[in-house]
């Protein structure tokens, strides 16, 4: 089994001097292939910070991060952008779809960035949209979709480039209980059918049914529930 994400002694401090605040404190974390891990924590505990660091959006103050075996340490901005494109799928709090792209185009755009051929992209988009049961809505704009449908498009978009790992920041925050559970189940299904990994950050402990592991972010470190 290979590790999709390894975080070694990662520390993130905001500010300096007296006002310095350590949000992540020598945090160690590993996610293996096929795993769906949930990270829980109250508001302000550093969940978004943790996810940003793991997702190559934020450079930690110290420590080292590997994604799919590649260290992030010596990469410049452009290389990190390329790595995010190829290896990481993101799901953001409240879908964050691009308002001017139709559902199918949301996926085709990612494929275009990754330089997939048009045919490949079409096939992959069709497959994902069908699996997530939003194929009928492929020609609609995000504004015409319900919250749950938007999150399903977001899931499909995140998996489009066959990333090594998916990071989801409170994907259920803007959904009601049953829709939220549905979305989490779908993420879990995709992790299994794609044979990849996923990390979901949430503060809602009712959403953990399909997760392989549940961790708590406390005082800057992850602890087993």
């Amino acid at each position: 089994m290979s590790a999709k994400l390894i975080m070694k002694q990662v520390t993130k401090t905001y500010g300096d001097g007296d006002g310095a605040m350590t949000v992540l404190n020598n945090l160690d974390f590993t996610v293996n292939e096929g795993e769906f891990v949930a990270v829980l924590g109250p508001s302000g505990s550093g969940k978004s910070t943790f996810l940003s660091a793991a997702g190559a959006l934020l450079t930690p103050t110290s420590g080292e991060i590997f994604i799919d075996g590649e260290s992030l340490r010596d990469k410049d901005k452009g290389a990190l952008t390329e790595l995010r494109l190829q290896k990481i799928g993101f799901m953001f709090q409240s879908a964050q779809l691009l308002p001017f792209l139709k559902v199918e185009e949301q996926l085709l755009y990612v494929a275009k960035l990754a330089k997939l051929t048009t045919k490949e992209a079409k096939v992959r988009a069709t497959c994902l949209l069908k699996r997530l049961e939003i194929w009928e809505r492929r020609n609609q704009y995000p504004e015409q979709l319900s919250g749950g449908e938007k999150q399903r498009v977001a899931i499909a978009r995140a998996w489009m480039n066959k990333p090594a790992i998916l990071f989801a920041d409170e994907p259920t925050a803007s959904l009601d209980y049953s829709r939220g559970r549905e979305v989490v189940r779908m993420i879990a299904d995709e992790v299994r059918s794609e044979g990849k990994a996923a990390v979901m950050v949430t503060h809602d402990d009712r959403m953990l049914e399909w997760c392989d592991r549940v961790l708590h972010l406390e005082d800057g470190v992850l602890v087993q529930a």
Partner: protein, 383 residues
Amino acid sequence: MFLALREMRHSKARYSLIMVIMLLVSFLVLFVTGLARGLAYANISALENMPANYFVVQSDADHTFRRSQLGESELAAARAVAGEAKATPLGVQTSTITAADADVKADITFFAIDMAGMLAPEVTEGAGITNEVQGSAVVDSKLEESGVTIGSTISDQATGMSWTVSGFVKDSSYSHTPVVYINQLDWQAMKQGAVQGGSSDSTDSTDSTDSTGNAPYNVIALKVSSAQASEIAAQQQSVEVITQKQAISSVPGYAAEQNSLLMMIAFLFVIAAVVLAVFFYVITIQKTSQFGILKAMGTKMSYLAWSVVGQVLILSVASLALSLLLTFGMNMGLPDTMPFQLDGQTMILTSLLFIGMSLLGSLISVARVAKVDALEAIGRTGA
């Protein structure tokens, strides 16, 4: 372009609005440019159409033709360098004429030239005149509009001399007045008349050119290379050789007129750039979170920059194309009395400048996009 085009498709109203504004501004730019060119042409077409590229003027004349006084020695010196045919004298005199048979009184400019030389007017109607026969003139066709016909007699108010109109030329204005071409014999007669202080019978002045002692010409028109021009200038202390362009901009009133129009055009360009820059900047700020998401997803900055610039390019080219059509339409509908002229070269230059300014305006948006952090995408609520 994937994003740029789809975004424009989705927000048609917003982008059409920008396009309409750009269309109006670019139309105004083209129109005022055409008007400026047209006015310039109506002002100095006689000089612009002259087959001369340099002029010899007296060095203390401030490049102004009428202030300059040259004589035979200067002409001879110029001819020694340029050759007999490539240097020819020109007399310039503004005056007021009346036409006996028509009720016409008009401000005109006399051009006294060698009718066998390179400045000889191209008569479009009627007949030309010769160097030998006095009392005939070729006049600009604008006088035809005020009632002068071939065979009319026109009289100079200042000297009382009169000429029979033998032909018309097109597009011959100097300082917004129609040009009346006369030969050197009449010119000498006119000068002597003026010296003697009134109207006198001056038909016996055929041999007067040098004996009178006063300078017979204002300037010497040259058709020479720049090397020859500087050679002529170097030879004589009292003269200066100026280009046709310099001569044109020294025509009284020309520079003032063109400068104010040019100022307007320059402002229009700036306005175009600022309007576009502000619009795009506002739109870009609105889309900050979108750019954050795009970057988090792995979109390269160069792609986003190209997307913004591409939109501006599409908008400015499209609105420019429309306003060019509009300008052509307008030009056809304009009455002849309204001077309007837009040649291909000016049009291309104006268009390129407009597109350039638009792109310049889009740069602050690009700079703004560059500043957006991919981190914006995480931990935010929003669209």
